[in-house]
Amino acid sequence: MAEITLIEGVTMALARAMEEDPSVVMFGEDVGVNGGVFRATAGLHDKFGDDRVIDTPLAEVMIAGMSVGMASQGIRPVAEAQFCGFTMPMIDHIMCHAGRLRNRTRGRMSCPMVLRFPSGGGIHAPEHHSESPEALFAHMPGVRVVIPSSPSRAYGLMLAAIRDPDPVIFMEPKRIYRWQKEEVADDGEELPMDVCYTLRDGNDITLVTWGSMVKETMQAADQLEEQGLSVEVIDVATVSPLDMDTIIESVERTGRCVIIQEAPKHCGVASEIAAGLADAGIWHLHAPVKRVCGYDVVMPLYRNEMKYMPSVRRIVDAAKEILEVS
């Protein structure tokens, strides 16, 4: 079994899905011979050819709209937006059609497509290459929003997303594309969507996060544990629909929760989780729920981007603040 990175997990899943289902096609800008600007589709064009790994004209609306059209007629497109910022023109087709096709036609049609794209900041990229738009997609009825944070989850969740009969927005945290290596078997086993993954068990406090922020959150958990605390870490993994049960079950034991997200704070997924805790989790809470988030500002250009993002220290400080509440 090979040790692979998160992006290699994506590539391995794409290849596996293409092998097992001839209706799966890659569809996007530079996904073909070039293998994608991050190499997510590397090697696929050689293996599967022009008809399966399709370089498109440079037109994001077209990529999204034609994916809806293909998905409704028996092809399973895995569309790539080259960067998170370029998904904005695609929103019309995701919101108005991908998420509605099944409902609009009372189940006569469906839209089994995946829109995958690198998301988040931290790689010194130009403007519009570093945003975290998961809350925009999470607000859309009829679409799933999945964000893996490890090589094995990238592989297993991507397989689940492609095989799913409904549209999935698959956001790849590019800052941790090559952060960790992990042994992942190319066994075709998918991992379940719609559930949180508990990365570390603990009893004193629950840290909830997803995507790239798993990195800082795990480091914060290490620091807190060095100080004798028992920290539970949850990777939400599917931000829509949201598995509140796992989070509430954890908070029932710990009574304390910090939610960490890279996206801006206002109306974010962290807010939805906090609201869920204020509802079904309120009687178990010993302290206020804290959100450690990106600021409600335009994502700064790269010289300041790490100052925008939640840091290990900001997470540790928020945790300590609510641990002091007795």
């Binding site: 077209m62 709209g65 059209g69 007629q73 092809i75 189940g107 009969p165 629909p241």
Partner: protein, 366 residues
Amino acid sequence: MAHTAAAFKVDYFQFLKPDGKLVEDQQVPALARDFDRLTELYKLMVLTRTFDKKAVALQRTGKLGTYASCLGHEAAHVAIGAAMKEEDCFAPMYREYGAQFYRGVKMSEVLLYWGGDERGSNFSGPKHDFAWCVPIATQCLHAAGAALAYKLKKEDRVAVTVVGDGGSSKGDFLEAINAGSAWKLPLVLVIVNNQWAISVPRKKQNTAATLAQKGIAGGLPSIQVDGNDLIACLWAMDKAVNAARAGKGAFVLEMLTYRLSDHTTADDARRYRPSDEVDEAWDNEPLKRLKAYLIDQGAWSDDKEEELLGECKQWVQQAADEYLDMIENDPQPVTAMFDYMFAELPADLIEQRTYAQDYAEDGGHH
């Protein structure tokens, strides 16, 4: 040295003039002598107009929601449906009932949709046809995607879509032209140019002499026809669909017609449109000329017309009754808004569904 890098022309076709006579200065397609076919399509045009009148009446009497009339577009719409095979895919905008009736969509289903019931979009026409598409021009890319799917699967099928003169200003339409050109797709893009995008006239969309030439800019064969001439519309559609099916790629067809109605029943065109323009447009409308032609050729008569109108009224009334009966006696339950969101309902939606159902049973929605 300067030279002409590219040059183009847009051909315009009209075979049946507004007075019901065939044009004399050019060859007329054999279709003009196929009276069985023309009569069949004429009947559908009359049925479509009868239906349209009834739908507007239902809206005016509070029995139907906002409705988009197809008055004046009957030749264009019926020709689009008539040129397609069942296995082809139709991606309409929202007023192409004539095309949809030809493809087996029931009149009661159109009424259900505008009557606020999603079951209308689970229609009796081909199961792969798209439903009504309200966001302007987005359907063009769905058709392009369908066409690419057929090409990838090596299926002998064509995707046909319709956009208005207003919609031709949208990127989706232009990106679909580009896609049709890049992949040589079995795709027919029809611009039903009815001169008005709600209150904005054609001349305010742009100053191009034709809308068809947008297709030429993208590398597609593109022509313009009299959209009130069924013979020209069907001849052009046959040409485009056959070319697409033969692997010759995508085609752009502009049909020049006129929106004789308001944009929808929620609109009042008298606020922005001169009445003499509408009066003049009535002289060119598609039914009158075809009827005159068929009578002139001995293929139709006033007696047959009277009989047909009676039948159409009866069929339309039956459709209206069926629709009204369904919404009154077999309405969708509150749970129906949840049941088609996903193939399998996620846990949070199951919870909301139960909650909504409890309230509905309790009368709590009132």
